[in-house]
Symmetry: C2
Subunit: 152 residues, 2 copies
């Protein structure tokens, strides 16, 4: 994996050491929230709520899917987690707090975090931007290579 993408393994660390502080005084750091957050940080492959639910259940057997949704909403609101929406698919979640975009491979469905160019949007005066979402679709290097090999 080269310069500008972060693989599942190498995503830069994102979480403040003590999540309790980052959650803010308005939110409580519960076991469920911590486990959802921890599982999300372990996986790093942009799981859906349901995928996370399955994973978290191993540690917190009684947890419900609705709770996973709630936790993710809380984490998103407190800024620890980013919700990633690609087309009409189910929301995916990403603990990488660095500003970045997403590349979605149409062949293998992997989602890669990618750097953004450091140029600004050419917006006319008066627009105040609170969030930027950049997503790309296409073929990742591995799939491009595989496709080439398949048909000479």
């Amino acid at each position: 994996m080269s310069r500008n993408t972060y693989s599942t393994e190498t995503v830069p660390p994102t979480a403040p050491a003590v999540v309790g502080f980052a959650l803010g005084p308005e939110f409580r750091l519960t076991k469920q929230r911590r486990e959802v957050y921890d599982s999300l940080c372990e996986q790093r492959n942009h799981p859906t709520a349901t995928e996370l639910f399955i994973r978290v259940k191993e540690r917190v057997p009684g947890i419900s899917l609705a709770t996973v949704y709630n936790c993710l909403e809380t984490l998103t609101h407190s800024g620890l987690v980013r919700q990633v929406n690609l087309d009409r698919g189910p929301s995916r979640y990403c603990p990488n707090l660095k500003e970045h975009g997403h590349f979605h491979c149409e062949s293998c469905s992997t989602i890669y975090d990618v750097d953004l160019p450091d140029c600004a949007m050419p917006l006319p005066r008066g627009y105040v931007v609170s969030r930027l979402d950049v997503s790309l679709r296409g073929q990742c290097p591995a799939c491009t290579k595989a496709a080439k090999a398949a048909r000479p």
Copy 2:
């Protein structure tokens, strides 16, 4: 409205004069498809399928919502229309074929077409991009101004 946004009125013309050709040989130019497309071009405010449905029904009273969905899918596949997905909201549709992004005002919910910067994504070698989606959220000039006026 200034340089880099297209208002509801001033969106640059996008449709080939004869939609029939553009639809391609694999698709038939039916009354429903034409009316859906025409209504979409008239509105220009990124309507949802349901919003379009209501509008098209005035001209084609018997049309069904499923048909509007079908038509939009066909139009999207043939490249005449772009499906715009912002967060988890219902899909919206856009006949502006020029490459552009979308600015979504959190106050008035208007969606503006915006220019993209002409710098390239800093992708590592091997990524093949077939589509780019850029969306911004924030406050549009009108709402920013109104907010300022409201509280001194």
